[in-house]
C-alpha cells in the first residue's frame, strides 16, 4: 500500500471526503456542531475551519507516530493529540476573534468529541503515510466545512434574510425565525440529506 502513494491516490483520498464519503451528508457524523452552531453562515464557517485545523494537524501527528504508538493505548494517545489542538484553537480564537469565540461558546471545546476527527485517526491516519493522511484530512475537512456552510447559509438566508450579515431582501421580507432556532437546524439538515440520498439513488440506478 505504501509503494505508490501517487498524486492520483492523494487526489482520490481528498475528493472522497468532499463528496462520496462526505462526513455530514453521507456518513452523518459530527451532528452536534452541525445542528448547534449553523444558525449563521459566519458561525458555520468558523466552526468548519476550527474543526479542519484540529483534524489536519491531528491526522499529521497520528500518521507520523503511527508506528510508535502501541495499539493498546492508541485511543488515549489520539485523544491527547486531538485535545491539545482543540485547546490551542480555543485559546487562539479567544485571543484573535473574541466575538466568534463567544458565539461558538462551548462548541469549540466539544470539537474534542467530534467523531469525524477520532474516526479519521482510527480508520485512516493510523494506517497510512503522512501524505495520504494529509490528503484524507484535508478532504474530510473541506467536506465538513462545505456541509456546515450549506446548512448555515440556508438557515441564515431564510431565518434572517441575510448572508454573511449582508441583507439580501428588502424590508418586505418576513424572516422565518424558526430556521435560526434549533428546529431549523433539523429542517435544513433533513432536506439536505433527502437531496443527497436522492442524488445517490439516481446515480446508482443510472
Amino acid at each position: 500500500m505504501n509503494q505508490a502513494p501517487t498524486i492520483n491516490r492523494s487526489a482520490e483520498e481528498f475528493l472522497k471526503g468532499l463528496w462520496k464519503e462526505n462526513p455530514v451528508f453521507v456518513a452523518v457524523l459530527g451532528m452536534c456542531p452541525t445542528l448547534a452552531v449553523t444558525n449563521t453562515a459566519i458561525n458555520s464557517l468558523a466552526m468548519g475551519l476550527a474543526t479542519s485545523f484540529v483534524l489536519v494537524f491531528s491526522s499529521l501527528l497520528v500518521s507520523a507516530f503511527r508506528k510508535l504508538i502501541p495499539k493498546q493505548v492508541r485511543i488515549t494517545a489520539f485523544i491527547i493529540i486531538i485535545a491539545t489542538f482543540v485547546t490551542v484553537v480555543d485559546f487562539l480564537l479567544a485571543a484573535l476573534a473574541p466575538q466568534i469565540h463567544k458565539e461558538l461558546g462551548a462548541f469549540i471545546a466539544l470539537i474534542v468529541v467530534n467523531c469525524v476527527i477520532l474516526g479519521r485517526q482510527e480508520a485512516f491516519s493510523s494506517k497510512n503515510p503522512m501524505g495520504l493522511a494529509m490528503a484524507d484530512a484535508l478532504g474530510m475537512s473541506a467536506g465538513f466545512t462545505f456541509a456546515l456552510l450549506s446548512i448555515g447559509a440556508i438557515r441564515e438566508i431564510l431565518g434572517s434574510g441575510s448572508l454573511f450579515n449582508i441583507p439580501l431582501f428588502g424590508s418586505g421580507f418576513e424572516p422565518w425565525v424558526v430556521m435560526i432556532l434549533p428546529p431549523g437546524g433539523f429542517f435544513a439538515l433533513g432536506f439536505l440529506l433527502l437531496f443527497f440520498n436522492w442524488l445517490q439513488r439516481r446515480r446508482a440506478k443510472g
Binding site: 507516530f65 485535545a83 485571543a95 473574541p98 425565525v177
Partner: protein
Amino acid sequence: MSERSTQEKPLANTEAEPSSARLIATLGIAGFFSGLVLVGVYLFTLPMIQANRAQATERAIYLVLPGSKAFQALVLKDGGLAPAEEAPAGKSGEEPPRIYAGFDEAGKLVGFAIPSDEPGFQDIIGGIFGYEPEKQAIIGFEVLDSKETPGLGDKIIKDAAFRENFRELAIAPQIISVKKGEKQAPNEVEAITGATISSKAVVRLLQKGVEKWQPAIEQYVKAQKQ
C-alpha cells in the same frame, strides 16, 4: 499556527506485546509534550484575551455613561465604595463584584456603570447600566450577554423603542414594567410585545442592581462632596 509535539522515542520491536512500562511511557511523553504546547499557547494568548475583555468592558462603560472619557473601578467596602486596587482578590482568588465610576473630560463625575445579571427566558441575561446619582435615574443600558430567542426576546438588544426607555429612567420609588404604550410615570419601562419575559427580566436586572449598589453610591457621592 502549528505547534508540533513529538510523542515517542523510537523503539525497535513493534510486533511483540509491548511492556506496561512502554505503554505508560508513551502516554506520559504524549502528556508531557501536550502540556508544554498548551502552557506555551496559554501564556502567548493570555495578554490578548485579557486585553479583549478589558476593551469590551471599557466600550460598555462609555456606552452607558454618555460623555464619559475615563473610569475608575470600585468595589463594596464597609457599606461604601473603595477603589478596586485597594481591595485585593479574596482568598479563593475570586474578584469581588465591581462597578465603574465614569468621569468626563473635566474630571467631573458622570455616573456609575453597574453590571448586573438576571435569569431571562433562555439563560442568564448579563447587562450593564449607567446610573446618575444626582438625577436618581438610569441613563443607559447595554446587554452584554444573552441567549434570548432570536426575533423575539433578543429585541431587548435590538428594539430601538425599548432602548429609548433607558435614556432617562427614574429609579424611585421602583422600576416597573408596563405594557407598550402605557408609560405614564418616569419610573416605568414599556415592555416589548412578544418578549414580556425578557423585558421583565431586564427590569428585574436593573432593580436588583440599583438595590444592591445605591446605598453605597449615595455614601460615596456624599463623601466626595465633602
